[in-house]
Amino acid sequence: MTKSSVKRKFTQKKLSEVAPEFPFTLEDVTNLSERLGEPAWLRERRLSAWQAHSQLPMPSMQDEAWRRSDIRKLPSDRLALKPAEDVSLDPNLLAPLGGEDCGGRLVLRPGLPSQSTGGTELSEHGVVFCDWATAVREHERLLREHLGSVVRESEAKFAALAAGLMQEGALIYVPPGVKLESPLHTIIWAPGSGGLVATRLMVIVDQNAELTLVHETGSPLQPQGEAVYAGMVELHVGEGAKLSFVELQHWGEHVWNFTHERARLESNARIEWVFGAVGSRFTKTYADLDLDGEGAEGRMAAFYITDGEQHLDHDTQQNHLKPHTTSDLLFKGALRNRSRSVWQGMIYVAPGAQQADGYQMNRNLILSDDARADSIPGLEILADDVRCTHGATVGRLEDEPIFYLMTRGLERETAERLMIDGFFTPILERIPLEDLRVRTKAMLHRKLNELTSHG
C-alpha cells in the first residue's frame, strides 16, 4: 500500500464519521421569521434555538441513543430551505376520518398556504385549531404561554433545528371542560426533494377537556433525491383532561425523518397515544411521556412496518414523575428485506413517585433473513413501592399456525398475511374510534400489500 492511498483512506474515514452540519445561518433564521410575520420575541426564540443547534454536536454512533442508527449519509449539507412542492395530496390522506362531521381538518404544506375545513362549530366552543400564521396573528398569548414548555427548543440537535427553522405549524387549544366528540385532523404534506422541512405541533387540552386528534405526515415517494424533515410535537394534557392522539407517518422513502415529541400530563389526565409508521428512509423519533401529576395515565402503542433499506428508530421514555401514575407501552413491528428497526425504551420512576405502575413491551416479526430488529427495554427506578415490568421479543412467523391456516384452503401468502394482521390487531384496538381504526387499518394494509408484492 502506498503512502498516498493510506492518507486518502484516513481522510475519507475522518470525513464520514459524523454527518455534515446543515448549511443554514442566523440570517436564514431571521429571514424566515420575518417572512412569516413573527413578532420580535418569536424571532429571538428562533435565534436562540438556532444558536443551540449550532453549538450542539451532530449526533453520531458514539452517542448511546444513536449507537444503532447511522446518519453519516445524511445529506444535510446539500439541503435548501424551500417550500413543499405544489403536488396534490394523496387521496388516501383526504379520505374522511369517518362520519360526516370530522371536527375539522388542517392541511399544512410548509411554504404554501394551508388548507382548512370545518371549524365554525369549534370557535363557538372557544377551540383554537389553526396554522402557524393564524396562531402568530391571533393567539400570541397561547404561544407565549406554551411554546417550548413541553419540548425545550435547545434540548437536542434536531429539536433545535426544528425550532429554529420551522416553516409551518399547528396550534390546537381545547378550553376547560370542552369535550370534542368529532376528531380533528392535521396533515403535514411535504412533497419535493433537496429541502429541509420543519414544523411544530402544539396541542393544549385544558382541564377536563377531551380531544381526539389524528396527525399525519406524508409525501409521495420521490423517484430521486432526498429530503429531511424535522418536527416537534408538544402535547399538554391538563388536569383531568383526555387526549387520544393518533399519529400516522407515511413519508416517502427519500425522507430522513427526525422528531422530538412529548406529552406532559397533569393530575388525573389521560392520553391514548398510537403511532403508525410505514414511511421514510430513516426515522429517529423521540417520544416521551411525562406523567407529571398524581393519577395521570399514559398509554402508548405503535406499529411500524418496514421494507427495502428503511431504518426506523423509536426512542421512548415513560417518565413517572409523581405518585400513582400509570403507563403502558406496546410497540410492534414487522420487517422485511434489509430493513431495520430500533426500539429503545425507558421507564423512569422519580424519587417519591410511589405506586407507579409502568409496563412496556416490544414485539418484532422478522419476515426476511436480512431484516433486523433491535429491542432495548430499560428501567430506572428511584422509588421503592412501584410495579414496573417490561419485555421484548424478536421472532418469525411460526410454521404450525401457517400449516393450520393452509389446511383451511388459504395459500401460504394469505395465511402469513392473516397472521401479520392478527399480530397488529392489539395496536389497532387501541385506536378510539371505529372509523379511525378502519382508516389506520387501510394504511397498514397498503403497506403490507407492498411488502407482499415485493415478494
Binding site: 404450525e400 384452503g409 388459504l410
Partner: protein, 260 residues
C-alpha cells in the same frame, strides 16, 4: 368429483422413523368410518400425512382423492379439493377473529374456482355464519373472538366443527375430536358432526375411546396397530373393543407389535 378418498399401501416416516407401514383405506361420501387403536400407533400421523404436514414424509404408496393424486398438492389445495381435518390440538391465531378467518377461508375456496371472485358479500356471510353457529349451539359473540386464542378445550373442538360445517368438505377427518371434552361438550360436538353428516360427506373419526361412537355411529370400524390397519369390521367391532380392550388385538397381531 366423486369425493372418494383412497389410501393405498401408505408408508409415512417422521424424521426418518417409519410410522405408517402400509395403510389401505377407502372412504366414500356418505360413509362414516372410525379408526381406532391404542396411543402412538400412527392414527394421527395418518391424519397429518393426508393433510400434507411438511414434517411427515411419504415413503411409499399413494392417495387418490376425487380421482386425483392427493400427494402432489399442498395443504391449501387439499382443503380446496374437499378434504378437511379437525385438529386434535387446534392452533391459536391471536388477533384474528373466528369470523374474519372463516370469511378468508370461504373466499380462498371460492377464488380457487373463480379467480375473479370478489369475496363473499357481508349479508351472505352473516346469514351463513349464523346458520352454522345455530347448528352447533354457539353464541354469536363467539365469531368475534380470536381463533382458538384462550378457548377452552370444548370451544376449540366446536370451532373445528364450525369450520367443517362452513367449508363443506367431501371428506372430513376428525382427529381425537373427543379428547379433553366433558360429556356435555362431547354431546354438542357430536350433534354438530351429525348435523353436517349426510350423503355428500365421508367421515373418518380417529379415536382412542369408543365413547364418541355412542353419538356418531360408524358403519365401518378399523383398528390400527403399529402403523397398519389390522382389523376392519362393522360397528360391533367397536363394541368388542369397549368390552375387551385392545389386549386381544395385540395378542392376535403380536407379530406386528413385536416388529416395533
Amino acid at each position: 368429483m366423486n369425493g372418494k378418498l383412497e389410501i393405498r399401501d401408505l408408508h409415512v416416516s417422521v424424521e426418518d422413523k417409519p410410522v405408517l407401514k402400509g395403510v389401505d383405506l377407502t372412504v366414500k361420501p356418505g360413509e362414516v368410518h372410525a379408526l381406532m387403536g391404542p396411543n402412538a400407533t400412527g392414527k394421527s400421523t395418518l391424519a397429518y400425512a393426508l393433510m400434507g404436514h411438511p414434517r411427515y414424509t411419504i415413503t411409499q404408496g399413494e392417495v387418490v382423492f376425487n380421482g386425483e393424486n392427493l400427494l402432489d398438492k399442498d395443504p391449501a389445495e387439499r382443503s380446496r379439493a374437499g378434504l378437511f381435518l379437525a385438529f386434535q390440538y387446534p392452533v391459536a391465531i391471536p388477533g384474528v377473529s373466528v369470523a374474519n378467518f372463516l370469511r378468508t377461508a370461504i373466499n380462498a375456496h371460492r377464488r380457487a374456482l373463480d379467480p375473479e371472485y370478489k369475496g363473499i358479500p357481508v349479508p351472505e356471510f352473516r346469514t351463513l355464519l349464523k346458520q352454522k353457529m345455530d347448528l352447533l349451539e354457539m353464541p354469536y359473540e363467539f365469531a368475534g373472538r380470536y381463533l382458538n386464542d384462550g378457548f377452552s378445550g370444548g370451544e376449540k373442538k366446536r370451532a373445528e366443527i364450525l369450520q367443517l360445517a362452513t367449508l363443506e368438505p367431501t371428506v372430513a377427518i376428525l382427529d381425537e375430536t373427543d379428547s379433553g371434552l366433558d360429556i356435555d361438550a362431547l354431546r354438542i360436538v357430536s350433534e354438530g358432526v351429525n348435523a353436517v353428516a349426510g350423503p355428500n360427506l365421508g367421515i373418518l373419526i380417529i379415536t382412542h375411546y369408543q365413547r364418541i361412537l355412542n353419538y356418531i355411529k360408524p358403519e365401518f370400524v378399523h383398528i390400527m396397530l403399529n402403523g397398519r390397519i389390522v382389523e376392519s369390521g362393522g360397528s360391533d367391532l367397536a363394541k368388542q373393543l369397549e368390552a375387551q380392550g385392545y389386549a386381544w388385538v395385540r395378542e392376535k397381531h403380536g407379530e406386528a407389535v413385536s416388529e416395533a
